[in-house]
Amino acid sequence: MPEYKAPQRDMMFVLNDIINVSELAELPGFEDATPDIVQGVVDEAAKIIENTIAPLNETGDREGCRFDNGMVTAPAGFKEAYQLYTESGWTGLDKSIDFGGQGLPYTLATAVSDMLCAGNDAFSLYPGLTNGACEALMEHGSQELQDTYLEKLTTGEWTGTMCLTEPQAGSDLSQVRTRAIDQNDGTYLIEGTKIFITGGEHDFVDNIIHLVLARLPDAPAGVKGISMFVVPKFMVDSDGNPGARNPVVCASIEEKMGIHGSSTCVMSFENATGYLIGNANEGLRYMFTMMNLARLMVGLQGLGVAERATQGAIEYAKERKQATAINGGETIIHHPDVRRMLMTMKALTEGCRMVAYDTAKHYDISKAHPDESVRKTANDRVELMTPICKAFATDVGCEVASLGVLVLGGAGYIRESGMEQYIRDAKIFCIYEGTNTIQALDLVGRKMKMNLPQTFIKEMINDLATESGNDELGFIVEPMQAALNLLDKTTQWLTAAALEDPQNPAATAVEYLTMYSLVTHGHFWIKAARAALAKQDDDFYKAKLVTARFFANKILPRIYGLAPVIMAGSEPVMTAEEDWL
Amino acid sequence: MTKVLIIAEHDGKHINGSTARAVTCAQGLSAESVEIAVFAAEGTALAGQAATLSGVTKVLLIENPANEHALAAVLAPQIEVLASEYSHVLAPSTTFGKDLTPRIAAHLGVPQISDIMRVESPRIFDRPIYAGNAIVTVEAPAGIVVATVRTASFSEAETTGSATIEKREVNIELPSHTRFVKLETSGGGDRPDLQAATKVVSGGRGVGSKDNFNVIYSLADKLGAAVGASRAAVDAGFIPNDHQVGQTGKIIAPELYMAFGISGAIQHLAGIKDAGTIVAINKDPDAPIFEVADFGLVGDLFEIIPELEKALA
C-alpha cells in the first residue's frame, strides 16, 4: 500500500502562482496569513496527516466501525489520531478566535482538508461534519447556544452531526417528519428517526452535538415548516460539562460500500431535549447557508481520492515491468495507453485542486473584504463554483480511482494493493451532501436564473482576450477560444429551451455541468501554463506545461461530445412510457 | 612527504578489523610511512597485534591509565601532540573514529574528511553524501589531512607484517570533565529493530514451519541481526506480520540482507532493493531472487545455516 505524500509542491504552486494567496493577508482579520504562516501550516499539517492519519486509511477500511448496543467503536487508532489532531489545533484553523479558533482564512483550511481527505477520507468526516455544526451555530445560534457549545466544537473537544435525512426524506428534505414539541420552558422534545447520520455515534469524545431538522406541530407543510434544533447527546450542566444522558441513541450503523472508517448511523430521537436555533420554520434556510461549505468539503474528498489514486498508480507504473514498450522502456509507464491513463489522472486531479483553492479564496473575500460589492461578487463566484467543485471533482474522483485500478491491472483488483478502496470510497462523494444530479440541477436552475454561469463565461472570454497575443500559449488559448464560444452557445440554447420545457435543462443538467466544469478547468490551465512558462528550467514547471497541453488536446475536447447531447434536449430522454422500461 | 598516522581502535583485548581496513586505505596514499598509534591503559599485546598489520612501519604505544576507555576529549589532545610529524591522521569511520577525529581536526585548525570510500591521490578522495545516493570527489586544502575511513570500502590488511613498536610518553594535562561510566553490549536482549538494523536475516516459505524458524532466529542472534520474513512465510503463519519485508510490509535498506528459502517475488524484492549486499540461499537454482542477489548459494538452508554459524564462532 503506497504511503501518502502530501503534494506540497503542487499545493504551494496553486496557492502562490495561481491564486496569489498572499492577497488574503491584506484583508482585515487575515493579517496573520503571511507567507511564513502559509508555509508553516502546509508543512506541519502535512507531517501530522502523513504520519498519524494516513496510515490508518487502509486499516480503517479493513476494520470498519463496530456497533454494540447503542455504542459505536471506530477502527483502532482513529480515536488517538483524532485527539492528537484536535489537540494540535487543526480543526479550529479557520474558526472564530472568540471560540478558540485561529481565525485563519478558509483557503488555508482548504489546503489542510486537501491533505486530510487524501490521507484518510473516512477520518476526515469526523472533523468535517463538526464544521457544519459550528457554522450553523455561528451564523444562527443565540448567544447562549454559542456560549454553551461553540468553543468545544471549535477545538474538537466535542463533535457535531447534521441530522437531516430520514427514510422518506433524502434529496427532498421537505418530507422530513421528525417532530419537535415546545415544552414552553425554552426546550423542545424531539422525536423521530434520522438515517445516514455521519458520526452520529463514536468513541472519540465526551459529547456529540446533533443538529436536527424537525417540524413543530403547527408548522406549515413543505419546506417552509422545518426548524433546526440542537440536541446534545449529554445535557450540558452549569459548569459546561456533559451531564445527564439525553435520549438520542444510535439504533444501528450501516454496512457500506466504502468509507468504512466513518460511522454511518441510524439515530433515534426518543423525546430528547432540544433547543431551537434561530427562528421557528427557518431551519431549511439555515441549512442552506452551510450548504456551500459542506459541498466544497465533499469536492475536496473527491480531489483527495483522486490524488491518492494518482500517486499510487504513478508509483506502480514506474516499477512494474511487463513487455518492452515501443519506445524501448522497460516499465509500464512507457506504454502509451498506461501513460494516457496516468496523464488523465494527473491533469484532472491538478485541475480540481486549482478550482477548489480558487473558490476557497473567493469565499474568504466574500466574508472579509471591506467593500460590500466586492464581497457580493466574490460570493456569486462561490455560489457558481459550488456545484462544480462538488459534482465535477467527485466525478473526477470516481473516474480517476477507476483508472487507478486499471493501471495496476490484476493487482489493482486485489485488496492488498490498496487501490480498489478508492473506487469504493469515491462513490458516496457523488451522492451525499446533494447528489451530483442535485448539484447539476442547481447549476442549470437557481444559478442560471441568477445569471452566474453566463457572467463567468464572459469573464473567461475577457481573460482569454488578454492572452491571445502570446504565441507560446497558443496551444491552449486557441482551443479555449473555441470551447468558450461553444459553451456560450450551449448556455444560450439551454436558457431558451428551459422556457419551452423545464424538462430540457433537467434532462441535460449533468452533461451541462460537466461541460461547464471542463471549460472552467481550461481557464485555470491557461493560468498554470502562463506561470510555468516563466520558470521553465525546473522540471516541475516543465511538467505543468506538458500537463496543460494534455488537458487542451485530450480532455477539453470532451465538450464536443457533450454539446450536441445537451442540445438534443429532453425529448429523447423522456418520451418512453414508464412501462416500456 | 606523505606520512600517515592511524589511530587504532580496540576493546582492550583486540585491535579491531576496522583498523586493519584503515591500513589498507592508507596504502593508497603512496605514503613514505604508515604508523599506528595505540592508546591504552596497558597495551603491549595490542601493540603487538597492530604491528602485524601488513604495510605498517611503526606502532606507537601510548600507555596511560586515562586511556583505558576511548574518550575523545582525553585522546584528542595526545594525538595532537603527535600529529605534527604526520601529513595524514586517519581513523576508521566507526563511532570511535567519528567521535574522535573532528575534535582533533578542529584543534589543529583544519577541516576533516569523513568516510573516505576511495583514494584518488594523497589529497583527493571520494566520499558518500545523501546517504550514499551521491558521491563527491573532494580535495583537502593545504595542511594536515584528518579523515575517517569508510570500513565497507576497504578490505582488511593482511597480518603478515612486523612493524617496530615504540613506547611514547605524552606528558600533557588531560581533562577530567569526561568520565566513562559503563558499556552495555548488545545481543543480550532484544533484537535490533527491523527497519533500522544494519543486518537482517530473513526466512521464506522454504523454512517450512513456525518451529523451523528457530534456525533463522539463531543465525540472526549470532550476527546481531534483525529477523525478516517474506509474505508467504507470514501468510503461512510461520512468523508474525511485523517481520514482513516487501512492498506491503517493510521497505528496508540494511547493509547485509540474507534471504533463506525466499523465492524472490517482485513484491519482496521491492522491499530490499536498496540493501547493501543481498545474499540468497535457496534449493531452487532458478529462484528469481538469484537475479538480484550479490551472492547466491544453491543448497539446503538447514545444512547451510549451521555451517555459517560455525564460521562465525
Partner: protein, 248 residues
C-alpha cells in the same frame, strides 16, 4: 540554564535527490527543504529539559540563507523561546560552523549546546565535536539518552558495541542520535505564536568569524549501480566474500 540548539536547513529526507548530469552537484531547485531530522530531535530534547525545569531558555540557531528562517520558525513553533540567524549565502562547512557557534557561545553562555549528530545532506558528523574542541568543552556524541543532574550530564551513547554511558561536566556539547526521542507534532496555535518570537540576525563579520579553509568539491557523481551478483559453491566461499565486505 540556557540551552542552545543548532538546526540546519537540508533537503527533506523523503526527497529522492538527483545528481546533475554535468557533475556540478545535486539538483535542488524547487526541492522541498526541511529541518535536519536529527536536529529536530535535538530541539525536542532541549524542550523536554526545559519542561522538566532543568533549563529556563531554549535558543534555536541556524546558519544559512534567508530561507533558513523557516527552520527557526519551526523550532520556535515547537517551543523554543527565541532564535538566532547567522545569515550567509556561502556554503558553510563544519569547521566554519563550529567557529560561528563558538562565537555565539561566548555571547550567550549556554550550559548545553545540542546538535543533531549529522546533517543528512553532507553526512559529515563533525560540527558538534569541532565546536566542543574550539570551546574546550566536553562532547557527548550520538546521544540516545540524556539525564541532567545539576552540573553533570549523564549521556548514554549509541556506539558500535552497544550503549556507552559517560558523564560530562557542564557546559558541554551533545549531539542527538535517532533514538533519543520522538519529536512532537507542531500545534497550529504555536505556529501563530512563533511569529511573535524574536529572531536576531548576524553575519560572520558581526561575529568576528573568519571562514576556515574548505574542502573543495571537485565533482559529484551518482553511485555505482547494482552489479549482477555471483553464485558461490560453498559456505566457505560465502563467508570469505562477506568478510571481505566487512559484513561478517
Amino acid at each position: 540554564m540556557k540551552i542552545l540548539v543548532a538546526v540546519k536547513r537540508v533537503v527533506d529526507f523523503n526527497v529522492r535527490i538527483q545528481v546533475k548530469a554535468d557533475g556540478s552537484g545535486i539538483a535542488s531547485d524547487g526541492v522541498k527543504m526541511s529541518m535536519n531530522p536529527f536536529d529536530e530531535i535535538a530541539v525536542e530534547e532541549a524542550l523536554r529539559l526545559k519542561e522538566a525545569g532543568k533549563a529556563e531558555e531554549v535558543i534555536a540557531i541556524t546558519i544559512g540563507p534567508k530561507a533558513s528562517q523557516e527552520q527557526l520558525r519551526t523550532a520556535l513553533a515547537m517551543g523554543a523561546d527565541r532564535a538566532i540567524h547567522v545569515e550567509t549565502d556561502e556554503d558553510i562547512q563544519p569547521l566554519t560552523a563550529a567557529r560561528i557557534l563558538n562565537a555565539i557561545i561566548d555571547k550567550e553562555e549556554p550550559k548545553i549546546v545540542m546538535l543533531g549528530k549529522q546533517a543528512i545532506d553532507d553526512d559529515n558528523n563533525q560540527t558538534a565535536q569541532m565546536l566542543a574542541a574550539l570551546a574546550n568543552w566536553p562532547q557527548a556524541t550520538f546521544a540516545s539518552q540524556l539525564e541532567v543532574d545539576g552540573d553533570v550530564a549523564n549521556v548514554t551513547r549509541e556506539v558500535d558495541a552497544g550503549l556507552e554511558t559517560i558523564a560530562v561536566d557542564l557546559p558541554a556539547v551533545i549531539s542527538a542520535d535517532l533514538r533519543l526521542n520522538e519529536p512532537r507534532y507542531v500545534k497550529l496555535p504555536d505556529i501563530m505564536k512563533a511569529k511573535r518570537k524574536p529572531i536576531d540576525t548576524f553575519t560572520l563579520a558581526d561575529l568576528g568569524v573568519e571562514a576556515a579553509a574548505s574542502v573543495k568539491v571537485l565533482k559529484t557523481s551518482a553511485p555505482a549501480t547494482r552489479q549482477a551478483g555471483i553464485k558461490v559453491e560453498t559456505v566457505d566461499e560465502l563467508v570469505v566474500a562477506l568478510k571481505e565486505r566487512g559484513l561478517f
